[in-house]
Each structure stands twice: as structure tokens, then as C-alpha cells.
Symmetry: C2
Subunit: 318 residues, 2 copies
Amino acid sequence: MKVFVGVDGGGTKTEAIAVDGTGKKIGEVNSGPTNPNATPYWKESLRSISQQLALPEKTNVRIFAGISGAGTSETREELIEAFRELFSAEIEVEPDPLNILYGGLYGSAGIVQICGTGSITYGVNEKGDYGRIGGWGYLLGDRGSGYEIGRRGLLASIESEEGLGFPTVITEYIYNKFRGKDCREILQKIYSSTAPKELVSPLSKIVIRAAEEGDKVALNILYEEALMVCSYIFRLEKELFAFKKQPVILAGGVLSTSNPFQLMVKNELDRKGISTFLPEHTPVEGALIGAVRKENGIIKKNVLAAIGGRIWGPQLED
Amino acid sequence: MKVFVGVDGGGTKTEAIAVDGTGKKIGEVNSGPTNPNATPYWKESLRSISQQLALPEKTNVRIFAGISGAGTSETREELIEAFRELFSAEIEVEPDPLNILYGGLYGSAGIVQICGTGSITYGVNEKGDYGRIGGWGYLLGDRGSGYEIGRRGLLASIESEEGLGFPTVITEYIYNKFRGKDCREILQKIYSSTAPKELVSPLSKIVIRAAEEGDKVALNILYEEALMVCSYIFRLEKELFAFKKQPVILAGGVLSTSNPFQLMVKNELDRKGISTFLPEHTPVEGALIGAVRKENGIIKKNVLAAIGGRIWGPQLED
């Protein structure tokens, strides 16, 4: 019997689920990081998944692995080869945003907008063409990301302290967080930490809180970032779908909870007739859907039932 | 006899010069980093300076030390205390931009604009009040810095590659520099390096070269950064000098050479009646001027003659 395996691989951990053709779950395992840019031990993490799943020899397997860092064809080839040494299977490796797309849209065409620590706009059309915008990381400032929102909040509070900008409650909240009374002092704390960028992204929560309280500086930061995110979505819609409206899945820590930033993005998309959804499934379940989808291009309800969640999407069959 | 010591302390090295009251040079030494944020061994570097200078006991010494990282009063106190353990002297410690200010203006009031890897606007008025804007480092994006110009060049080339911006020759120059044919691939190279930020700042040279060839995207980046830098200068002029026009010293790798960015800054300042100069002296010579200046508040020509350079400035006396 055919076995489907979904893999969600990241820079700190990797998850995998396996189901058989009737939808029965036959394994659910965890392992270390599999992003080849994040660790030299990614092959060991893959081996651990193979050992834990312990699929019987000669099993007919289909794997879909959405893995962070699989952005270039070179890296994808390397990952596919490593999978081949461990599984006798049909293998597809793609960047991890596709897991979320499949977890939200069950294999139908659409766009996913992720705003977590970083951000990326990812889409796939009915022909299976992929496209993406953003995901450039903290150095270049991923628009709408927690990092960028936090960075701009910190900058606004320093500028206001130095008489360059409008007063904002962000300043006070940052003082409280870092137990400091001067932004220069706080900046020094951030730069002298071993991972300054990891201190910046959580500041997005402060900006969101300030915006919830009506702080104009915070609202302006969120609004500008929301507009940029939406402009990326419109751009991808044009590129992949020739302007035909597509559902957009919202994901990531900053965008998947109800807050002013999410509302701004939703409103702006709504104004253009674009509907938004939160994904019903976890990323690893999305990867599994990715694997099942490849079989005849359709997803069977009994398979989906095994992984739970509301069933939605035009391509479902009994 | 009184001895004057100037110290220019940075994150990688420190220089010191000592002259006597007649202007005779009695020592010129080098040592390791003295920026307390950059190294735990900064006290060792100071000790090495004291040992190399080997001033006779009971010498009456005045020290001016401009040290990077001395941005908070806490750090300055720590540095002063460390100097006190090594020298029986009158000691002044300030952030290192003051060395350049003194090296350019001989102790008279004014503003220094530094655009190197980072950027900062620093000024001192006739009452001796200091002020500064910027110098927030790469995370917050120092306007007009090599880092920020390079970062924006990289971003522009990626956006243009992904259909979001105007075409620019920057893209081709970045391909050549990193031997890549795709910005995603190049980004991966930058992020996987041990010091990604050190790869970004040198890209400013590419942006400047593109601007010299008339590239509109590059010209626009430089113009926006130049305007921001000038707005900081105007702001400091208002704060420290109540809008009275002051000479501005231009310094740092990006701003001290003849290029379109320097021209834009000069033109914008010139339009507002502000004259610009390049410093005649090195930073460590500027620190020495800082030490000498404190004596009676004036600088004697014979002392300046010892450190060379054109003599300029309203406070000079024979």
C-alpha cells in the first residue's frame, strides 16, 4: 500500500507525519533542524526521521518536504539526494511556506502571506507555478515582519528621544522592557548581546500594543508595513494569476492573531475583493496534504479526515 | 613641565600622541582596542599605552581621549577610572567623533558629520555643550552610512530582480562582486557568512560607482541619504547654536572623498549657507588638540606646529 509522508523542516526542529492510503496515521515523529543553512547536521536529522518512522522495506512512499532554507535549486537538489539515500520514494522538496499554503488551501491555487520573525509572500497557481516576494531576512528588512516592526518601533522611540520625531508610548514600553532610562543605554545593551537581532523582533509586540492603545506613531508603522505586504500580494496575484482574485492564507506570529496589523492587512485586501483565511492545519499537516495532493492531483476526504480539521477547497473528492 | 596626551581609541586599535608644552613631540604609540563594548581587554590596551609612553613620575599630564563606545556617562566614568590608575593626570574622555571635530576645527565650536561604515552627527557649541544625532548602528540603519547605502543598494537590486522596482546596474555589479547570477543565491552567501554585516557596508562603493555612471536608482538612494544627513545637521544647528551657521567637518570613508554623495551633502548645506571642510589632522592629532585646548581654553601655534598641518581657526594665539 502507498504511504504518504509530510515533512516540515526548520532551523531548530523538524516534524514529520505518515499516513497510509486509507488515511490511517502510521507515524508522527520529531527531529532536529533540517535547514542546511542553519546546521551542518541536517542529514543526521533526516536520518533520525527515517529511523523513527521505520517504514517497512519495499513500501511505496511519496514524500512532500517543505524545508526552510530550500530557496535555491542547488539546496533542493542536495536535500532530495539526502532523502533518496534514506527512502525509496517519490520525493518533492520545496521551501517551507508551501506547507502553510497546503495547510490552508488543500492543494488548490492561492497565496500565503507569512509575517513572523521574518516575512514572505508565496503563491502557487493552477498550473503549479510557484512565485514569491520578500523573505530577504533581517538585513534587508522583510516588510511586515516582527523584526521590521520591532526595528521601526525602536528607531521611532530613539528618534523621538533625540527630538527628531513625534512622542510615542513605545519609548516608555521599551524602557520598561530593558529596564533602562535612555535609548542610547538600551541600544548598547542590544548591540552587546550575542544575538542582537533576536532582541529586536519581540519589540513588535510593544508596537502592536501601543497601536491598540491608539498611539499614532505605532499605528503609522503598522499601516505602512501592512500596505507594503499587500502590495507584494497584489504583485504576486498579477504575476501568477493575471489579476484573478485568489484566497490569501494569513500565517506567522504577527499576522495570525487578531491585532491592528492583521486588521489593516485584511481591510486592504478586502477593499480589493480578496478574501483571507487562517490555515486550518499545522504546517506539517500541510506538508502531508502536499504529498497526498500529488497523487492524481486530488485529495481524498478519507485521507484528510485522518489529519482532522475543517474540510474546504474545490478539489476535494470522496 | 606639562605634557599633553591625545588618545584615539577604537574597536580594533588605539593611537596616542604626547607633546610637551613647547610643542615638542615626546611619544607616539599604538595599542589594541579600547572600546569597552568591543573587547573585555580594553584595560590591557590602556596599560600598554601607559607603558610605551613611559612618562617620568610626577609629570603634570593632561589627557584627552576620544574613544568609540564612550557614549554613556557610565562607560565614560569607567574609562576615566581606568586612566586614573595609570596616569596622574587631568583626564577627559568623550566619544571618538570629537577627535575629528578638534582635528578639523582646532577647538572652536562646530559640527562634524561622519559617514563611514556607520554615521553620526556630532557638535559642540561655544559653551562646550555637546550634542549628537544618529550613530545608532546597523540594526537601526544609520542614515548616510556605508552600511545603509550598501543595504539599500542590495535591496534595490533584489527588488528589481523580483519585478518590484526599476532596473539598475547595481544588480550586475553585485553579481560580479559575489560571482553569482541570482540575488537569492547571493543573499544566502551573505547570511551564511560569519559576519554578514561586514559584507554589506562595502557595497556602498558599488552604489556610488553606479551613481557616477548616472544610474537613477543609485542616485536616488544617495540623494535620500544625503538629505537625511543634512536634516540631522540642521537639527543639531538649531539645538546647539540656535540656527547660527557653523562650519561642518566632513569625515568617514563615504563622505571624505570626492563622489556624488559628498557633492549632494555639500550642495544641500551650501544652499543653506553652511560651509564644509575636510579635517586637516588625523583623529589622534585631533585628540591632542582636544587636550591642549583645555589649557586656558586656547591653542598655541607652537603646539600645533608640532603636529603639522594647516593652521586654521579663530582661537589660535602665538
